[in-house]
């Protein structure tokens, strides 16, 4: 490895992004397989063994399609939105500890950094909806911002529970604390577990997944903010959605399930297993549940989750005070 920290950061960043995008490509395959099984279908079978080469075929297809910009769209913002969405979704990876040594950047505010990027994610999607100059896109984009900014609050508050319990905002520090004192999902009585559930729920809402995919709502808004997008730009949005789901699973595993901590197997394998299990859960939910209505979404957030997470934070503080 070279000694220049900036060059090293660049190389590590490229490695992490490449690994993630590869994972994202085959996660689309996995999701289609699971969706197929849940609906008594087979999913992709034709391209390669078990349809394993389907993501490659999809990538080639979307790259050679024509990118269409609507005549009355705001072309600059229309072009800018998809790469921005993907960049924000991937940016979280910088602070996720995959093993004790494998962590791109153990800054002392890792949790805050991840939450900040996640909170910004609804922005480029809204830009996409607005720049398309289409009423379905715009309505979808407005719903995205309203949903994103509402669910950011319980998300941050529930992520602060492990932070309070561990006494640090560094992702690596949170995992090290759990490796010594037990995973937060079980160690702090009740508080950790409920916070874990709330965090998963809010991550679903931020990631625009069922039961919270109200911005996209294909039965009423065509495809929401991405209605006017075609070809590779649409693929960027799809990749961003999967990357966000995957990284949200990784963050939940890090904050609540002990991250890389686990017996026998090497740490990185544990991290991948936990992230994969959470992603599986999210996918299962997606193909089992129905979509909420906008007003149900808002009352769930403001009347239940926000007071609940405030109480949880209070509980975590009490627990830490009593324990010391």
């Amino acid at each position: 490895m070279t000694n220049d920290p900036w060059l090293r950061a660049l190389l590590e960043g490229a490695a992490v992004v490449t690994a993630l995008m590869t994972a994202v490509a085959w996660i689309t395959w996995l999701e289609r397989k699971i969706a197929g099984r849940i609906q008594s279908r087979l999913g992709p079978t034709m391209v390669g063994p078990f349809g394993l080469l389907q993501p490659l075929a999809d990538a080639v297809k979307s790259m050679q399609k024509e990118s269409i910009v609507p005549r009355d769209a705001d072309a600059l913002l229309f072009w800018l939105a998809p790469p921005l969405t993907l960049a924000l979704a991937l940016g979280t990876a910088a602070v996720i500890p995959f093993s004790p040594g494998l962590l791109a950047s153990d800054v002392d505010i890792g949790v805050l950094y991840a939450l900040a990027l996640s909170g910004l994610l609804s922005f480029p999607i809204w830009i996409a909806g607005w720049a398309s100059n289409n009423k379905y896109s715009l309505l979808g984009g407005m719903r995205m911002v309203a949903q994103g900014i509402s669910y950011e609050i319980p998300m941050v508050l529930s992520a602060l529970v492990p932070v309070v319990l561990a006494g640090t905002l560094s992702m690596g520090g949170v995992v090290r604390h759990q490796a010594e004192h037990g995973w937060f999902v079980v160690s702090a009585p009740g508080v950790g577990f409920v916070a874990f559930l709330v965090f998963l729920l809010t991550a679903l809402a931020e990631g625009n997944r069922i039961p919270f995919d109200i911005p996209e709502a294909e039965s009423e808004l065509v495809a929401g903010p991405t209605t006017e997008y075609t070809a590779i730009q649409w693929s960027l949005f799809a990749a961003a959605e999967y990357a966000h789901s995957l990284l949200a699973s990784a963050i939940a595993a890090t904050l609540f399930l002990g991250g890389w901590d686990g017996p026998v197997l090497p740490p990185a394998v544990w991290m991948v297993l936990k992230t994969g299990a959470l992603f599986l859960l999210i996918t299962w939910l997606r193909w089992s549940l129905l979509r909420l209505r906008s007003d149900q979404l808002m009352s769930l957030c403001w009347k239940l989750l926000v007071p609940l997470t405030l109480l949880l934070l209070l509980g975590a503080g009490t627990w830490v005070t009593l324990a010391t």
């Binding site: 220049d4 920290p5 900036w6 009355d72 769209a73 705001d74 600059l76 913002l77 800054v107 002392d108 505010i109 805050l112 950094y113 939450l115 900040a116 990027l117 909170g119 910004l120 922005f123 809204w126 830009i127 607005w130 720049a131 100059n133 009423k135 715009l138 309505l139 407005m142 911002v145 900014i149 950011e152 941050v156 905002l169 009423e220 007003d295």
Partner: protein, 204 residues
């Protein structure tokens, strides 16, 4: 120049370009996007100054909340993707006088100050000045009273805003049907349920 210096330079350029876009964009949404670029650029500068906590807070509060609020306000006023009509408004000549005048005055003031007193360098910040411990210690220790007062101010402002908005709102049945936010955006209801506005929800 070190790579860190280049990073700082890039952030500075992004911030300045964003600021220019904010004040020069015809279209309010593009203006808001320029403001977002400025905020992100300043957050990058905070990182380079090893104040990571401040950078994250900058992103969460300003980019994640304040700009979103601006966007909501702009949307409720009803823009479209073509931008403003761009016609000459009365009084638009004033800016050609006011902007240079203010610039010259500010520059003159700065030069005058530099002549009168010798500029002094700031003390170098102690190591760890941007960490959570340092900021938290200041906010909940030395600056506790101003901090709490500012939260009280924000609460009062929020209550005042709601009071003003509520006192003007009439009963949904007495209000002309054209004032709903959706109707203003699209010139008519898309779906009967969309014609119901937030105010109606509150009134219920």
């Amino acid at each position: 120049m070190t790579p860190g210096g280049y990073f700082f330079g890039v952030c500075a350029v992004v911030a300045v370009l964003g600021a220019l876009a904010t004040i020069s964009a015809r279209n309010p949404i593009r203006g808001a996007m320029g403001l977002l670029a400025t905020i992100v650029g300043i957050a990058g500068m905070y990182v380079q100054l090893s104040a990571q906590f401040l950078a994250a807070i900058q992103l969460i509060v300003y980019a994640g909340a304040v700009v979103v609020l601006f966007v909501f306000v702009i949307m409720l006023l009803g823009p479209d993707a073509h931008g403003a009509d761009g016609g000459k408004r009365p009084g638009s000549w004033a800016r050609w006088i006011a902007a240079p005048l203010v610039s010259v005055l500010l520059l003159g003031g700065a030069v005058l100050l530099a002549r009168v007193s010798t500029p002094q360098r700031f003390r170098a910040a102690p190591p760890g000045h941007g960490t959570i411990e340092a900021v938290g210690g200041d906010v909940f220790g030395r600056a506790l009273v101003p901090f709490e007062l500012s939260t009280a101010l924000l609460i009062v402002a929020a209550v005042g805003a709601i009071a003003i908005a509520r006192s003007r709102a009439t009963k949904p049945s007495e209000r002309p049907a054209s004032v709903g936010a959706t109707r203003r955006l699209f010139g008519g209801a898309i779906h009967p349920r969309d014609a119901r506005t937030v105010d109606d929800e509150v009134a219920r």
